[in-house]
């Protein structure tokens, strides 16, 4: 009996401890996601990227810290005023993190969407010479993300941006892209309604859709 009590006690202890780390993880993530949402200049985003990288180190089995670190580096690539080398440096860093996230959680629509987002960044950094080789890859990656989860509004709005770029290139109208914008907005609304308080799941991208609707689909 005594032996059993000890085992139960130990189990409870482990459970509490595990719970505590989980709470610490979620708390840390929540705090950094809030800060990331407000981060403006590249230097601030770098701090977020660093913070996510630290959390990733502590939680080797979680894909979200690497996912956010990748997203932060991709955003730095988009936001920096620096040259091509600097941008490519950020995208290379983003790729490292997204690869780690992929290894933890394969076939995850959110991860694949950010993977495409990084390709889109590399494309935007030098569209003249990378357009041909990367535009197909970006669209294919977003297509894969949508295929993995048709309810992922981020994959859809990113695809809409690529579609719009292609349509412009070929002198076509934005109808197809705008259809995607509309469906992403519906999904964003649904997602916001269902999201729990303090959620650390990906919820970003609505602003992108609203802006695109305003600018292109009026």
């Amino acid at each position: 009996m005594k032996k059993h009590t000890l085992i139960i006690a130990l189990l409870m202890f482990v459970a509490t401890f595990a719970n505590a780390t989980n709470e610490a993880y979620e708390k840390a993530m929540h705090k950094e996601i809030q800060a990331f949402g407000k981060a403006g200049p590249v230097s601030e985003v770098q701090k977020s990227a660093n913070a996510f990288a630290r959390i990733a180190e502590m939680n080797a089995g979680e894909w979200l810290p690497d996912y956010y670190a990748a997203l932060a580096y991709a955003n730095m690539g988009f936001r920096t005023e620096g040259g091509l080398e600097e941008k490519d440096g950020y995208y290379a860093q983003a790729k490292k993190h997204i690869e780690k996230a992929k290894a933890i959680s394969p076939n995850n629509s959110e991860i694949v969407a950010v993977e495409g987002y990084i390709v889109m960044g590399e494309l935007a950094a030098d569209p003249n010479s990378r357009g041909q080789s990367l535009s197909g890859l970006a669209m294919q990656t977003f297509g894969k993300a949508i295929g993995l989860n048709r309810q992922n509004p981020r994959a859809i709005i990113l695809m809409a941006q690529m579609e719009y770029g292609m349509a412009q290139f070929f002198g076509q109208g934005p109808e197809k892209a705008c259809g995607l914008v509309a469906s992403s907005l519906e999904l964003f609304a649904k997602e916001a309604a269902e999201a729990k308080e303090g959620s650390i799941d990906p919820l970003w991208g609505k602003g992108m859709a609203e802006e695109m609707k305003e600018r292109t689909c009026k």
Binding site: T5, A9, F13, A24, A28, S43, Q46, K47, N50, A51, A53, R54, I55, E57, M58, G83, E85, D88, G89, Y90, A92, Q93, D126, N128, S129, R130, Q132, S133, L134, S135, G136, L137, M139, Q140, G143, M166, Q168, F169, F170, G171
Partner: protein, 716 residues
């Protein structure tokens, strides 16, 4: 149980007793502050980032011994042991830069790389295939790059005063024998390989790595696509033939099968030709390409191509009446290769493969039947070890089996030779910093047939300036056995040797690229002989020569919107004693002044890319036997204006129209003279002209796939 919790609680409380502040400033080895450094205590959530001025401050409630880590992009991580005891501590680390493959200096001497993945490239793969004058031939595009000469009656690649045999072509590192289609004399040839096989190319006009041997002047390494992106079918309908290609892509593998048929007869019936064709060139080819990913990072590629074709042409003989000599030519060609790449543990990586080329030419010249067969087997294995981010060593083994047979079938005369060559090479790269790299290599070889062993040292270095421009220097020795047609007549001939010295400046920034290069090259042991093929006499190996000059290249994708253009000027001063010449002469394939301009402009309104290319040189030397001396005359300069129009009505449909020599200039590449003088003592001549005043190419390319935006722009 309660006690256990109390202990736990105590333990937890104990952790929060003291607060320690760690602060300092992070700098790099130049003394500049580093912002954005990730600073944290290993194994905890405690961490911060350095500010714009490099300063940081980390407050922590942890106590005891920890490891403090400093991590930043482009620098080596640093770790410190730290004892957290409540008292303030200061760490001012100096971070050391790592060698960053993406931004570090690269050796660009002699090299012109086309890649989507790498930096310091001159062109992207797509740029090559859309050069208007190229007509879809990958070599046609290289002829607009510095260091090359346009030899319109040959079509092959002539680099810096060297003849066409001095350029070796490799696909995925494996040697390609007879990379160009067989043709009759003075009828230009094309590369056999379709441009859309390749994702990139490395074209070197000298000073190249010890990895490349059996090439005196130039190495062209073509790299095939790894795994295509999607399942698709590609249909091409051309003014000269048609083709279909099907690609199937799996999770870890892919298969592409292609078949093409080409016949110039209908085209030649419509467009005036300069040549007297009995049967226009025709041919078919089939190829299969398979890919398998292997493990985490390995890939195995297999490729097989077989083709067959021919032509019949009447070639006029100077000084005699009638249509002249009928040349009936049939060619059968097979190339297969297998290659692999694997990244191993502890910074080891491996690659290699094996290739087999088999070329059979069957000629009928008047009543004489000739059959030539050339076979090349190449096997190669390379291991690469990175000892640190600064030092890496590449070592490889290669063997070549050259097998050549030529026969006069009607006379029942056959002769052949086999040569086994073993090579070993090793090359070390040492980065002093991100700005300076040294490379040294050695290549040793042995030929069984020639009974010769040789050692070729190579060396290069590059320095990158603050403004991202870089200066490279390359020097080395390059050996190559003479061409098969001569080796068979004199099997004990030895290597011809060239020494290269190259100085290069390269800058690419904001969509503009400048490249300038000066070179000196000398040749030893060039073959001289009397007579012609099959009847070479008095073969000697005491010819010498040199080539010196410079070239400049400027490319601009920025200044004019939607427009990409590049211009090239190459100056080559080349003289050599070779072939039938008894003194040093300027070879007919080495014009002194060569220039070209390529312009591509995309018009959104027309959904079209318009292209133009203009090439000019100062003419080709030739020997006029009516006057004293060798190479005593020069043709008028070559000029060609080519235009192209690619129309993309739908993303998956391309209509391509191209026309060479729009202005219809009658370019002359030299003159043929009658072997004996006529009654008035004059050698009569005929100009060597273009096959036709113009070549007009119309193609429709349709891509069928689920992804409607896919197209085969690469095929143009």
């Amino acid at each position: 149980m309660k006690a256990l919790f109390t202990i736990c609680l105590f333990f937890l409380v104990n952790l929060t007793l003291a607060q320690t502040t760690i602060k300092g400033i992070v700098k790099d080895s130049k003394g500049e502050t580093v912002p954005g450094v990730n600073i944290f205590l290993k194994g905890t959530y405690e961490g911060t980032s350095s500010e714009v001025d490099g300063s940081y401050e980390l407050e922590t409630d942890e106590t005891g011994k920890f490891i403090l880590v400093f991590q930043a992009m482009g620098f080596k991580s640093q770790e410190f042991e730290i004892d957290l005891n409540g008292s303030e501590q200061t760490f001012n680390p100096i971070l050391k830069e790592t060698i960053n493959e993406m931004t570090a200096v690269t050796i660009t001497a002699g090299a012109m790389e086309a890649s989507d993945e790498k930096k310091a490239v001159v062109l992207r793969p797509i740029d090559i295939v859309t050069v208007p004058s190229a007509m879809g031939d990958i070599i046609g595009a290289f002829q607009t790059l510095p260091g090359t000469a346009n030899v319109g009656n040959d079509g092959r690649l002539f680099v810096r005063g060297g003849d066409a045999s001095e350029t070796s072509i490799f696909i995925d590192g494996m040697k390609v024998g007879n990379a160009f289609g067989t043709t009759a004399s003075n009828v230009p040839t094309r590369t056999r390989f379709n441009p859309n096989l390749f994702k990139g190319s490395f074209f070197s006009t000298g000073g190249y790595s010890a990895e490349y041997g059996h090439a005196l002047s130039s190495a062209l390494a073509l790299n095939t696509v790894d795994i295509p992106v999607r399942n698709q079918g590609d249909i091409s309908l051309l003014s000269v033939g048609m083709g279909y290609s099907q690609t199937l892509v799996g999770e870890k593998n892919s298969l592409t099968a292609t078949a093409n048929y080409m016949d110039l007869s209908p085209y030649q019936a419509m467009v005036t030709q300069n040549f007297d064709w009995e049967r226009a060139p025709y041919g078919w080819d089939a190829e299969v390409s398979a890919r398998q990913k292997w493990g985490k990072s390995g890939i195995v590629k297999a490729y097989a191509r077989t083709e067959s074709g021919g032509m019949k042409i009447w070639q006029k003989i100077p000084g005699s009446e009638g249509r002249g000599q009928l040349v009936d030519l049939k060619n059968h060609y097979t190339f297969t290769s297998g290659s692999f790449k694997q990244i191993g543990k502890n910074d080891w990586s491996y690659y290699g493969g094996i290739s087999y080329s088999n070329n059979v030419d069957e000629f009928t010249l008047d009543q004489i039947d000739i059959r030539n067969q050339n076979r090349v087997i190449h096997a190669k294995a390379v291991a690469l070890k990175g000892f640190s981010d600064k030092f890496s060593l590449k070592t490889g083994l290669e063997t070549y089996l050259f097998s050549y047979e030529e026969g006069l079938k009607s006379e029942n005369l056959v002769r052949d030779f086999n040569d086994l060559q073993a090579n070993i090479f090793t090359e070390a790269d040492y980065y002093v910093s991100n700005k300076l790299i040294f490379r040294g290599g050695l290549r040793a070889g042995h030929s069984v047939l020639a009974d010769q062993t040789w050692l070729d040292p190579r060396f290069s270095l590059a320095y990158k300036f603050e403004n991202e421009g870089q200066l490279s220097l390359a020097a080395g020795q390059f050996s190559q056995m003479p061409v098969e047609e001569l080796r068979i007549a004199s099997p004990d001939v030895q290597n011809t040797i060239a020494n290269h010295l190259i100085l290069n400046y390269f800058l690419t920034k904001n969509g503009r690229t400048v490249r300038a290069e000066a070179f000196y090259k000398d040749y030893k042991k060039i073959l001289t002989y009397e007579g012609a093929q099959y009847f070479y006499r008095n073969i000697q190996q005491n010819g010498t020569g040199y080539a010196q000059g410079f070239d400049v290249f400027y490319r601009d994708q920025k200044t004019v919107k939607n427009t990409d253009f590049w211009m090239t000027y190459s100056f080559v001063d080349s003289r050599r004693k070779f072939a039938q010449f008894t003194e040093m002469v300027q070879p007919g394939f080495a014009p002194r002044h060569n220039a070209s301009i390529v312009v591509k402009h995309f018009v959104s309104g027309l959904k079209s890319q318009l292209g133009g290319s203009f090439a000019i040189n100062d003419g080709y030397t030739y020997t006029d036997p009516n006057f004293a001396g060798q190479m005593n005359a020069k043709t008028k300069g070559f000029r060609d204006l080519s235009l192209s129009w690619s129309y993309l009505p739908k993303p998956n449909l391309i209509i391509h129209f191209a026309c060479s020599n729009v202005l219809g200039r009658d370019n002359i590449f030299g003159y043929q003279f009658s072997p004996t003088p006529n009654e008035s003592g004059k050698y009569e001549s005929l100009p060597i002209r273009q096959t036709a005043p113009r070549f007009i190419f119309v193609g429709i390319f349709l891509t069928l796939s689920k992804d409607k935006t896919a197209n085969n722009l690469n095929n143009l």
